[in-house]
């Protein structure tokens, strides 16, 4: 697919002359892209196709190779009972699935929103000149640096109602009247998961935004300073527009990650219905229950949902694909 697409745009209008420079560049581009594409095709393409294929079969993990084609049955199938009522089955008719969709979307929205805002604040702070900046920069990366399985357990421990330090702290500071069983109660489980995810992932955002901030030429600010532009206005008129490309990419990847959230919830609140996301549900069906095909269906639907979201995002956010002059 890639090699066909590689023909330079200009070649259509002039088949006869192709400059050495253009040829060199296109040839280089091809060589630069091929290894990456091969790597991705093997590491992602094949497994992806397998999963999608399984979603149209009755595969079980005990019998992967004897799976038979069932069409869209895993997605939606129906059965007309003798009384005439129609019974819908399949993932799309499963309330658990829609509950998971809702949890996932809710989680992704709030976590990315907070991470973006807090990440921006942290990045702006780190972009300022002050003493001990290096240490602070290392310090804020710590949450991101701790393996998820560990930080999830660590927070599970800290959020425990009896021996958790968060409850202890909350009570001592008078913020909580009684200890809260954060991860156990259906009302607070999502909050707990959000707190941990925001804590863990804000550094990722902050660092990407910081890299964007670093590429803004300083003299622009100097000029604004001389013109007496208020710092708040500077932020909205200069910083935000200039950091936007980096920010958009950071947000895309965060949202994609958030929509696929798995490990944190799997460790922190594995079975709580109020935090069960699509990935957790899919994992359960794929490996814990005997519903491999259903799990594949859920994975494929999750993929579709994310794809639709991404297309919308790119379309509405006007993310620039064709930038650059060459």
């Amino acid at each position: 697919m890639a090699t066909d697409a590689m023909a330079p745009i200009t070649s259509a209008s002039t088949p006869k002359i192709k400059s050495e420079l253009l040829q060199q560049r296109v040839r280089a581009a091809r060589w630069f892209l091929v290894p990456m594409l091969i790597a991705l095709a093997i590491v992602a393409g094949w497994p992806l196709m397998r999963s999608i294929w399984f979603s149209f079969t009755d595969a079980t993990l005990n019998d992967l190779y004897g799976a038979e084609w069932v069409g869209f049955g895993n997605y939606l199938r129906w059965q007309v009972l003798e009384s005439g009522t129609v019974r819908y089955r399949g993932v799309l008719a499963d309330p658990d699935w829609w509950n998971a969709v809702w949890n996932t979307v809710r989680f992704a929205f709030w976590s990315v929103l907070w991470e973006t805002v807090l990440g921006m604040i942290v990045a702006l702070v780190l972009n300022a000149e002050f003493r001990g900046r290096g240490i602070v920069r290392a310090a804020i990366l710590i949450p991101w640096a701790i393996p998820t399985i560990v930080s999830a357990r660590m927070w599970g421990w800290m959020l425990n109602d009896q021996f958790g330090i968060i409850n202890d702290l909350g009570m001592k500071l008078g913020l909580l009247a009684a200890p809260v069983a954060w991860t156990a109660s259906a009302d607070t489980a999502m909050t707990a998961v959000l707190i941990v995810d925001i804590w863990k992932t804000t550094p990722f955002m902050a660092l990407l935004i910081l890299a964007g901030l670093q590429m803004i030429p300083k003299d622009i600010y100097e000029a604004a300073e001389i013109d007496g532009v208020h710092p708040v206005k500077q932020f909205f008129k200069i910083t935000l527009p200039l950091v936007r490309p980096a920010l958009m990419v950071a947000i895309i990847f965060r949202v994609l990650d958030a929509l696929r959230i798995f490990d944190l919830i799997y460790v922190l609140t594995p079975n709580s219905r109020s935090t069960k996301t699509m990935s957790v549900l899919a994992q359960e069906n794929l490996f814990q229950f005997n519903n491999f095909a259903e799990g594949s269906t859920q994975s494929t639907l999750l993929f579709l949902l994310i794809a639709i979201f991404t297309i919308l995002y790119i379309w509405l956010g006007k993310v620039n694909f064709e930038g650059g002059d060459r």
């Binding site: 993990l61 005990n62 009896q162 109660s185 490996f287 229950f289």
Partner: protein
């Protein structure tokens, strides 16, 4: 001493004759933990010396969910790198297709084990795993507190409720504000299936799915049992119990903040550790029973087994290893050093064990009340059945609907899952 060496060398030479030509390299995967792994290694060393095979241990995370997912994937892909698997009691029926039938190979030793355990590992007449040790929970109680308030060890749930409430209130009044009456495992996970199965069975409410495959859970006695448990949350048990697994409940217990505690035998030796606040202050008893028809004390059957992969490249040696790990010899060693409960009935009367681990003979009584989870009749669907069950129970405990309502839905869901047959 001399005799033993002689015996070992004789055995070794015998097996050498048979196996010298093909000293196999085996690997066993185990989710066992610290001491358990060390013990396993020591036994494997013995096995290596006796047979000339070499065995590598592949340790796995102690989370049984992680283990199960991995094993399924490996087995599904026909992984030849693992010969022997350590399996939870509930896995055998779900993984039956991928394990070798050990009926013939183990014909000589099967009779030594508790029949109920052998049964739990038999699927469609195929013995898929040999039991290595068993497990059954008990009621931990504070001797000192019961004495202080002149109470007996409760034998029914109602007694437990009353005693717990009374002591808790009194202790709190005395300034011990963190005291609770009863802690158990109320998180939505496999552990809750175990706890709730005990409540239901002890109340004469059946075993969720009966051995013949009938779905029995939607009955009044079962609903009453679960409703009763729901009444504990926030009264004699902390709200947080809804998020507790074994360790959290043990934490509360071991800080001296609970009168009663439901847990597995492992909490016994830890509770008697030097840094424990309840060291020497507690004892164990069979779990209480409910009331009504068929009420009895019930303890969910736990325990671990060894199974041989269908994809093993040296199945004979692998079977040999499995048999070794399930043998009376190893089980005795295990009981002595790990205080794991043997699956061989005779070992409960063993003098050495009684001397070294006095708790084990006690547990025989508890074990006799053991109830298997419905993994055998539900076969490959067990995990989903269990998940549906614990969700229904957890909902009830959290106050989302009454037990009767939730069990009715559960019955319908199970019926869907079952279809024509499990």
């Amino acid at each position: 001493m001399k005799l033993k060496t002689l015996l070992v060398s004789m055995m070794a030479s015998v097996t050498l004759v048979a196996g010298a030509a093909q000293a196999a390299e085996l690997s066993i995967v185990s989710g066992d933990t610290g001491n358990g792994l060390a013990f396993l290694r020591s036994q494997l060393d013995r096995f290596e010396a006796e047979t000339g095979h070499t065995v590598t241990v592949v340790p796995m995370p102690s989370s049984t969910t992680d283990q199960f997912g991995q094993y399924r994937l490996w087995l599904a892909a026909g992984n030849t790198d693992i010969d022997v698997y350590q399996t939870d009691v509930i896995w055998a029926p779900q993984l039956a297709d991928q394990f070798l039938d050990l009926t013939e190979a183990a014909a000589d030793v099967v009779d030594q084990h508790f029949p109920s355990i052998i049964e739990s590992q038999t699927v469609d007449g195929k013995l898929v795993a040999l039991p290595a040790f068993t497990d059954a929970p008990a009621l931990y109680y504070r001797k000192d507190l019961l004495e202080k308030y002149g109470k007996e060890v409760p034998t029914t749930w109602s007694e437990l409720e009353a005693t717990a409430k009374e002591i808790m209130d009194a202790e709190r009044a005395a300034g011990n504000s963190e005291m609770w009456g009863f802690v158990f495992q109320g998180n939505a996970y496999e552990g809750l299936t175990c706890d709730a199965l005990e409540w239901v069975v002890s109340n004469g409410g059946g075993q969720i799915v009966e051995p013949d495959g009938t779905i029995s859970i939607n009955n009044e006695q079962a609903a009453a049992a679960i409703d009763r448990a729901a009444g504990w949350v926030g009264t004699i048990a902390p709200e947080g119990v809804l998020g507790y697994m074994e360790e959290e409940s043990r934490g509360v217990w071991q800080l001296g903040n609970a009168v009663f505690h439901r847990n597995w035998p492992y909490a016994y030796s830890l509770g008697n550790g030097d840094d424990s606040a309840v060291k020497g202050l507690f004892d164990v008893a069979p779990l209480p029973m409910g009331d009504g028809e068929g009420a009895r004390s019930a303890a969910t059957l736990g325990g671990w087994n060894v199974a041989v992969s269908k994809y093993s490249q040296d199945p004979e040696a692998a079977i040999e290893l499995a048999k070794f790990l399930a043998s009376a010899d190893v089980q005795k060693e295990r009981a002595l050093s790990q205080s794991n409960l043997p699956t061989i009935e005779a070992l409960y009367d063993d003098a050495d064990i009684a001397a070294a681990q006095p708790i084990i003979p006690n547990w025989k009584e508890i074990f006799q009340n053991a109830v298997p989870r419905p993994s055998a009749p539900t076969k490959t669907d067990y995990n989903e059945v269990s998940s549906l069950f614990w969700s229904a129970v957890h909902d009830t405990l959290s106050g989302n609907g009454s037990a009767a309502e939730n069990l009715e839905i559960l019955e319908a869901d199970l019926q869907d899952l079952k279809g024509d047959a499990w």
